[in-house]
Symmetry: C2
Subunit: 270 residues, 2 copies
C-alpha cells in the first residue's frame, strides 16, 4: 500500500512525520507520499538516511493551522498539505491518508475531496482505547455531535470492519452506549438506535455502559459524537490525574523504602 | 436538623445505617429517624451503645429490593422503608431524607411523596466527584436521560445552591458540559441550553469539556442525565483500572527494592 501523509500536520511536524514515514517503510515496507513543503522535507528525509524511491515528496505550499476554520482546506488553502494529500487519494496515487493535524480540516477533506463510501452519509471519528483485555474502538468521538439514529448503523458497520481488520477479530462484538443493559434504558434516540442495530446482522450485543469502555467486554462501542467526545476527554483527564496521584504514591513508597534501607545500614554500623 | 434515614436501603443495610446514624449524632449532633423493621433495628441501636432520644426508630415492614420497579414504593410497597421515610419528610417529622437504596424508588418518592420545590419540574441526581483542587458537582447523572433544555436551568440553580452550602463557595462557578469552549460547539440542545444559562444571573462560565470534571476549573457541571451517567460510569471504571495497573507497578517497584535490600544484605555477609 501507499499512504499519503499530511507531513505538515500535528505537533512537532514535519520532523516526526518524516521519521515516521522512514520507520514505517523500514519496519513494515509501507510506501508513502510525504505531502508538504518540499524544501523543508527534502533535507529532513536525507538526514533520516532514506535514499530509496518508495517515499516520495509531493510539494504543497500551504499549511492549515489550528486557528483556521475546518473548511479552509476547501475554500481558501487549496494548496495545503492535507488538501493535496486528499487529492492524492482521490486521484489514485495513494490508498489511504494519515494526518495528525487539524481534525476538522481532515474531516472536510475526507468528505468533500475523497468522498464517502456508498451507503455512508458522513465520516465518523473513531478512537482506539486500551482496556483490561486489549482494545475497544469507540465511535463517533466528535464528528457528529447531533448524529441521527440512522447514522448509528453506519458507525456500527464501519466499526465492525475496522475491528475485524485492525484487531484481527472475526465478527467483532458491537455495543450501543447507554445507561443500562436493558433495551428499555437510555434516551429516545438510543432506544431507536437499539432496534436499528438489532436488525443489522452484525454481532450486536445490546446496550453497554460507561464501564464497558474499559473492562474488555466489547470490541466496538457505537455512540453519538457528543457522548463519544465527552467520554474521550473525561478519560484522558482522569487517567492523567490518577496516574499523577499514584506516581506520587510510588515516589513516596520508594522514598520510604530507601529510608528503611538507610536505617538498616545505619543500624548495622553499631 | 432531623433526618429520615432509609435504614433498610443500600449494601450491608441495616447495620451500617444504624452505625452511621449513631456516628452522625455523636460527631455532628444530628437527630434522625431510623425507618425500617423495628425488631431488627432496635437491638442494633442498643448494641451500637446509643441510649438517648434523638435517634428514633420508625417502623416500616417492607423493603424495596433491587429487583423492584422504581414505582414499587408508590404502587405496591407503601409500607417500605423509603416510602415511610418520605412520608416523614412530607409530614414535617424530618427535614431531609437519606437513602443508599434503590435509586429509582428514591426518585419516585422524592417527586410523588415529598414533591418538588416550586419552579422545579423534576428532581435531579447529582454526584460529587473529587478533582485536583477539591470537588466538582455533576448533575444530572441519570434521573433525566431525555432532559429538556429548560431543565438545565433548574439543574444549574439547584447545583449552585448545593455547592454554596456543601462546598462553602460564594457564587459557585457553573459550567455546561459540551465538546468545545466556544458557544458554537455542542449539540442543538446544548447550544440552546447555553443561552438559557447565560440569562440566569448565576456565575455561568460557559461551556466546559470532559477534562474539566477533573482539573478543578469549575464547581458545578450541568448536563443531561444520559451524558452525566456515562461520565460517572466511565470515571468509575477507568479510575479502578488505572489504580489496579499502577498498584501492580507499586508492588513490582517495592519487590524490586526489597530484592535490592536482600542483595545488599547478602553482599554484606561476605
Amino acid at each position: 500500500v501507499r499512504i499519503a501523509i499530511d507531513a505538515m500536520g500535528g505537533d512537532h511536524a514535519p520532523a516526526v512525520n518524516v521519521d515516521a514515514a522512514v520507520a514505517a517503510h523500514r519496519e513494515f515496507g509501507i510506501s508513502s507520499l510525504l505531502v508538504g513543503r518540499e524544501r523543508e522535507l527534502a533535507p529532513m528525509l536525507a538526514e533520516a538516511g532514506y535514499r530509496g524511491s518508495e517515499i516520495e515528496i509531493v510539494d504543497a505550499a500551504e499549511v492549515i493551522t489550528m486557528d483556521d476554520p475546518a473548511t479552509a482546506a476547501i475554500r481558501k488553502k487549496r494548496n495545503s498539505s492535507i488538501r493535496v494529500a486528499a487529492n492524492c487519494v482521490r486521484d489514485g496515487r495513494a490508498e489511504g491518508l494519515v494526518s495528525a493535524g487539524h481534525t476538522g480540516a481532515g474531516m472536510v477533506c475526507a468528505k468533500m475531496v475523497i468522498g464517502a463510501i456508498e451507503g455512508v452519509d458522513r465520516p465518523a471519528l473513531a478512537t482506539v482505547l486500551p482496556n483490561l483485555t486489549g482494545h475497544c474502538l469507540l465511535l463517533d468521538v466528535g464528528a457528529n455531535p447531533d448524529a441521527k439514529t440512522a447514522q448509528f448503523k453506519e458507525f456500527a458497520v464501519m466499526g465492525s470492519i475496522y475491528a475485524e481488520l485492525a484487531f484481527g477479530k472475526k465478527r467483532p462484538s458491537i455495543g450501543l452506549m447507554s445507561i443500562g443493559e436493558e433495551d428499555s434504558k437510555g434516551t429516545d434516540e438510543t432506544k431507536e438506535a437499539f432496534k436499528i442495530l438489532e436488525a443489522t446482522g452484525l454481532n450486536f450485543i445490546g446496550n453497554v455502559e460507561g464501564r464497558d469502555v474499559f473492562n474488555g467486554t466489547v470490541d466496538v462501542i457505537v455512540t453519538d459524537g457528543f457522548t463519544g467526545n465527552v467520554i474521550l476527554k473525561v478519560s484522558e483527564a482522569l487517567a492523567e490525574m490518577v496516574e499523577n496521584l499514584l506516581r506520587e504514591e510510588i515516589k513516596r513508597t520508594l522514598q520510604a523504602s530507601v529510608g528503611f534501607l538507610l536505617s538498616r545500614s545505619a543500624f548495622r554500623r553499631f
